[in-house]
């Protein structure tokens, strides 16, 4: 595991030695996120978001456990118990807003982390399993977030549950029985609420478990880096501690400040007003919209309006699931031997087109469905699938990548600003190396 120059754990204190001989837990931590984990020295700030995501998982688990002490998972009591938390529980408002905005910022961190992976080819050998385990975490997060949003039992909770479990009824024959089985009834009700609460409490610990696998799998080849060039010798790396703990530390402070801006001053801006109305199965809200982190997928779902062989709804549901599942196959779709998008001129352009495309899909998914917006989501969704399934394999085949630097150290010598400039270019800052 890791590189041969990784510093071994050497306990100094007799108590640490005593512990190390019996339960080498400090050794494990030292090797995972301490001085014993050599990391490429040229990571940029996009490499901070994995740690941040882990941080938010912890915030969510801690606030969630305390919230669960005051929450009451019954269709008659859930809404009022949330308001009880907001009004009567000591610092309950802080816990609840920290949890609801924490979910959003967890997704912000994870989305940046995922797009980092897409740009720098983190899904390529030898990190395929790191990528796939990450996708598993992402899927678990989506399930957890959806069920968490149902718990306050407001209008959007109820109708969101109705719409999302309704996806299953799109499948012929097995669909409807499956939906009824999942909900424990024909519509979201007490059975659904209780099981969602139970699963919402369970899944974060599953996420934590898969996160350990994700980090474990990462530590075998070690972290990637912006050049995508493999680590060659000790000069290319720095120990995680203190170098990256310091870098992650101050950046976490800055990111948390943005999170706190929302938590304390715009706590409801990422939610929906309708969820402050208690769930009412008799009154459908004018616009049923999921939380912002689901908007791109919601846009894909709504984009299918034609019954072509299969019913439009089934197309939408299949496409929505496929839009994430296809990411599992990226390693085999993009066969370019170059990892980093820096050295892939054509890939780079299409990557930014994809970013714009996904943002556009999100925007369309979040607003009311008018024919014009549906038309835009149709084109954007078509590009999404074409990008991954058709364009990426073709780029890999025809693109001529730029020359790679010989080593990470060489790329760093270009100067800090151009850490990952192509080897062939003559960066401005090269003289500063002297």
């Amino acid at each position: 595991m890791s590189f041969h120059w990784a510093k071994p754990y050497e306990p100094k204190h007799p108590l640490a030695r005593w512990l190390d001989e019996r339960l080498p837990l400090p050794r494990l931590v030292y090797g995972a996120i301490g001085g014993g984990y050599p990391v490429p020295r040229n990571l940029n700030y996009f490499w901070n978001f994995g740690v941040l995501a882990g941080f938010f998982l912890m915030i969510q688990i801690v606030t969630g456990i305390v919230l669960a002490m005051n929450y009451f998972s019954s269709v008659d009591g859930a809404f009022n118990s949330v308001e009880h938390i907001m009004r009567d529980v000591n610092a309950g408002w802080l816990l609840r807003y920290a949890h609801s905005n924490g979910a959003s910022f967890f997704f912000v961190a994870v989305y940046i982390h995922i797009f980092r992976g897409l740009y720098y080819g983190s899904y390529k050998a030898p990190r395929e399993l790191v990528w796939m385990l990450g996708l598993v975490i992402y899927l678990l997060m989506m399930a957890t977030a959806f069920m968490g949003y149902v718990l306050p039992w407001g209008q959007m909770s109820y109708w969101g549950a109705q719409v999302i479990t309704g996806f299953f009824s799109a499948f012929p024959v097995v669909g409807e029985p499956m939906r009824v089985f999942l909900l424990g009834g024909y519509a979201p009700d007490q059975a659904a609420l209780t099981r969602f609460f139970s699963l919402h409490y369970l899944l974060p610990f599953v996420i934590a478990g898969v996160t350990i696998l994700h980090i474990w799998a990462l530590h075998i080849p070690g972290s990637g880096n912006p050049t995508g060039v493999d680590v060659k010798d000790e000069k290319d790396t720095l120990p995680f501690h203190p170098f990256y703990t310091a870098k992650d530390g101050w950046f976490a402070g800055a990111f948390l400040a943005v999170y706190c801006l929302f938590l304390f001053f715009l706590p409801n801006s990422l939610g929906h007003a309708d969820n402050y109305i208690p769930a009412n199965p008799m009154a459908t809200p004018a616009h049923i919209v999921p939380e912002w982190y689901f908007w791109p997928f919601y846009a894909i779902l709504r984009a299918f309006t034609v019954d072509f062989i299969l019913p439009a709804k089934l197309w939408g549901v299949l496409a929505m699931f496929s839009s994430i599942l296809l990411l599992f196959f990226l390693t085999w779709l993009d066969k370019s031997p170059v990892r980093s998008g820096h050295y892939r001129p054509i890939f780079k352009r299409f990557f930014w087109l994809l970013v714009i495309d996904v943002v556009l899909l999100g925007w369309m998914g979040g607003s009311a469905a008018t024919p014009g917006r549906i038309a835009i989501s149709q084109l954007a969704a078509a590009y999404y699938f074409a990008h991954f399934l058709i364009i990426l394999p073709l780029i890999a085949k025809f693109e001529k990548p730029l020359p790679l630097p010989n080593s990470i150290t060489e790329s760093v010598l270009h100067g800090e600003k151009q850490e990952s400039a192509p080897a062939g270019s003559t960066p401005r800052a090269s003289t500063t190396a002297a």
């Binding site: 009022n80 308001e83 907001m86 009004r87 802080l94 807003y97 000069k235 720095l238 170098f243 310091a246 870098k247 530390g249 101050w250 402070g253 800055a254 948390l256 400040a257 706190c260 304390f264 001053f265 409801n268 007003a273 309708d274 402050y276 109305i277 004018a286 299918f304 309006t305 034609v306 072509f308 439009a312 197309w315 496409a319 496929s322 296809l326 196959f329 085999w332 779709l333 066969k335 024919p371 014009g372 549906i374 038309a375 149709q378 084109l379 969704a381 078509a382 590009y383 699938f385 074409a386 991954f388 399934l389 058709i390 394999p393 760093v412 010598l413 800090e416 090269s430 190396a433 002297a434």
Partner: protein, 309 residues
Amino acid sequence: MVRIIAFFVGLGFAGVLLLSFFFNMSDFLRHPPEATAESEFHLEHKHLALASDGPFGKFDRQQLQRGLQVYKEVCSACHSLKLVAFRDLEALGYNEPELKAFAKQWDVADINPENGEPVTRKGTPADHFPPPFPNETAARANNNNALPPDLSLITKAREGGAPYVYSLLTGYRDPKTYRNEKGKPLPAVNQPPQNLHFNPYFANLNLAMPPPLASDGQVTYADGTRSSVDQMAKDVAAFLVWTAEPKLENRHRAGIATLIFLLLATVFGYFAYRQIWAEAKRKVRVTGPLEAKNQAKSRSAKSKQGVKG
């Protein structure tokens, strides 16, 4: 193989999407959507500035007390305020005897502790505001089948929040004479049906609630403020911001403190990071043959010797 399958899957999804796009567009061009009365006459809410706005916002307690008075004398005839207890009104600046006296003015449903018969008794600070109707059916029966929503969370449960509430309360217009910004009168087909009231700030323009604040001076304020309709609407909107978010001031205070702490921690963390990395940057700085001036030397030496490259 994966790429061949992917190609056809991608072609399938993209193809059906483009097909959907063309059908959607041709449908759109053949039947362009008509302008609805809502799209022509619905208005965005007016601007309302309250003391509780912004990161340093605090409640104007005098205004909240006036708003409470408007709720008590006007709104409470039809709207409940279930989530608020009389004891919570302490935050509005009332002391304990005042709270007890205020609670006493309300009748609360209870049971006789001796025989379990339903009775009403005077309220105590521990009670919540009693609802005006015992249940939804009674509420609808008394309001032309419309249900007056509970007001506890109303400023958070409506897009636009307090400014929306204020706009709605002051937004009733005579549908016969009303003209929108373009000077267009409300067509006859869109005139409100019986028992509905025209209000351009309401999503579908017609509201079951009759204008609650009908005339200036409807409420005689205890603090002597002139009670114009506009003033009453503002005050009750401010009060409903408090009922929806009673811990707003704690939140703002805690937020400022947290941000100051985080910014300091971030700045210190940043300097620590710079200091730690300075060492790494020194280490990576080239000395020896890779150094630029040494490379130049070696180049010139080579060229002197006539070696290419």
